[in-house]
Amino acid sequence: MALFRAENLAMRFGGIRAVDEVSFEVTEGEVFAIIGPNGAGKTTIFNLISRLYTPTAGRMIFRDRDITAIPPHRIAGLGIARTFQNIELFANATVLQNLLIGCHCHVRASILAQLVFAPSARRDEIAHREKAEDVIAFLDLQRYRDSLISGLPYGVRKVVELGRALCTEPKLLLLDEPSSGLNTEETEVMGFWIEDIKKDLGITVIMVEHDMNLVRQVSDRVMALNFGRLLALGTPAEVQSHPEVIRAYIGGEAPA
């Protein structure tokens, strides 16, 4: 069953077609990787799905619902969470506070109730704390719980950002280059976590990734892009041996 569907999705910045008529379907429970050289439009697709950009053409369907025109702050509540390529954590807050912000889309108490700390606000807080602690236990972040983000090493921040996305209790998780800036060992661990997220939490994952080892390790299907256009879509092995993909990465003669 298709959890997410993009139909003829297009995004133009002036004369540049960052994403050009791309259509794909993501099935529930799979890890779907997007690869492509720099500037292929991978992150643009993420920004479109999380509604930071509005597509110039095309539609996006998530769980049988058209999300093409939904305001960006409602996306998390619908069940789509994301991480960023260059880590966008709240640097002057602790790990725990960052995770609690992830729970924001589940706040029930009104702002007025929060001002006077009414019982509904207290209930919210305790429920969120439990959720955050679950994520802390899942990702082994216990020892960093009360550390400020600004004092943490890059690899840990990457995991915290993943945790913050998990706190929104997503159905669909968008990971923008989960391995960037990580060493080989950390990348391998990140791979295990992505597998756990898929198997144990049943969350569907779309990830943009350059590290082909990680892509092979975790993804069920791969989509290759170049200059905003879809080159190939299939299993990791199929896509990697696709002649167009090889040409896009290492260059070659234009097809006759």
Binding site: N92, H104, R129
Partner: protein
């Protein structure tokens, strides 16, 4: 050194971290309640002014310290609150209604400046709010029929349940009660999703948005709450000065509020109190030493505003965590006494943002 054992999530939600807190803050409360019996009229009046400035400072702390929105027109909210209170009291409204009305009207003004500046930050926001402050100041000056312009507006003595609230003591107690209330609300904001949303907006707007935070809504509410608190302070300020003149709500006053936030210690409510003490005591300190200074230094025009500016700049350069940060550092030094490490408080990143997006 005290070690806290946490046994439940509720513990993290309490305002008091441990019984020692309750003891010391309780003692402080008792002393503050008894002070008018111990000190003279002048000191009580000055302390009342400290509370009033602290109330406005809490508002600005939420806006600038936690949401990261610089406001150089904060005095305008104080002016709106002050004039609303004076005009409504003159019209015969009861004090218990003019106080919330002052807060409400200031909050509306806060929304009015908050919405058009939603996409601004850093210097641009500073300029926009500066202009807003000037506009409000001119309105207070020119709207003769309501504010009496430069002729000034006398502030009637209000009553609560038949008791006249007058003199330094009356202002002192109302300001103390309202300061405690405002601090309580601010503490509630900071321990709920609302406060975390504000911090999230300060640190990364784009990721706040993808975490489901309605950035525009929260920024506007932050302006409204900050303005409401300052409007309340304004109502008390009217009571404190007894006679309103439009030129008291100028940009210099806004700079004093910023000084409260930065010198006190950005990102802490305790800092607001230290900052308010500093801002109100500095002029008194200048007055004390004025005549002993060599030459004409003590009588130079503009000595006071330039000193405020100097302290603001020095704090931002050399002690960015303000008085409160200094206090925390001193406390940590004594707690770890022989084993103190200098790196424990190294500064990581500035709080207030410039034009970086």
């Amino acid at each position: 050194m005290r070690t806290l054992f946490k046994t439940g999530y509720r513990q993290d939600l309490r305002i008091w971290r441990h019984p020692g807190d309750i003891l010391w803050y309780g003692l402080l409360g008792l002393v503050l309640l008894a002070l008018p019996r111990l000190l003279g009229e002048f000191y009580i009046g000055e302390l009342g002014a400290v509370y009033i400035f602290a109330i406005a400072g809490v508002g600005l702390m939420l806006l600038t310290g936690y949401t990261g929105l610089v406001n150089l027109g904060h005095a305008a909210f104080l002016g709106i609150g002050a004039y609303t209170n004076a005009v409504l009291l003159t019209a015969g409204w009861p004090y218990l209604l003019t106080l919330p009305a002052s807060a409400l009207l200031a909050a509306i003004a806060g929304v009015a400046i908050g919405i058009p500046t939603l996409r601004m930050s850093g210097l641009y926001l500073a300029i926009a709010t500066l202009a807003f402050g000037q506009i409000v100041a001119s309105v207070l000056e020119k709207w003769d029929s309501v504010t009496h312009g430069f002729n000034g507006l006398p502030v009637p003595i209000p009553e609560i349940f038949g008791f006249p609230i007058q003199g330094a003591t009356g202002v002192y107690y109302t300001a103390l009660v309202l300061l405690v209330a405002v601090l309580w609300i601010a503490a509630n904001i900071l321990r709920t999703p609302f406060g975390r949303a504000l911090v999230a907006i300060r640190d990364s707007e784009v990721s706040a948005r993808s975490m489901g935070i309605n950035v525009a809504l929260y920024k506007t509410i932050a302006f409204a709450v900050a303005a409401a608190m300052t409007g309340l302070a304004g109502a008390l300020f009217a009571q404190y000065v007894n006679f309103l003149a439009p030129d008291s709500f100028d940009v210099l006053l806004s700079v004093q509020f910023l000084t409260i936030v930065f010198v006190g210690g950005i990102g802490s409510l305790q800092g607001v109190i230290y900052g308010a003490l500093f801002v109100r005591l500095l002029p008194q300190g200048i007055a004390l030493v004025r005549d002993d200074l060599p030459g004409h230094i003590g009588h130079l025009p503009g000595l006071e505003p330039s000193l405020f500016g100097l302290f603001l700049v020095l704090t931002i350069l050399f002690q960015p965590t303000g008085i409160y940060g200094g206090w925390l550092r001193a406390k940590a030094w004594f707690q770890d006494f022989p084993l103190h490490r200098a790196s424990g408080f190294r500064r990581q990143r500035t709080y207030a943002r410039s034009e970086r997006t």
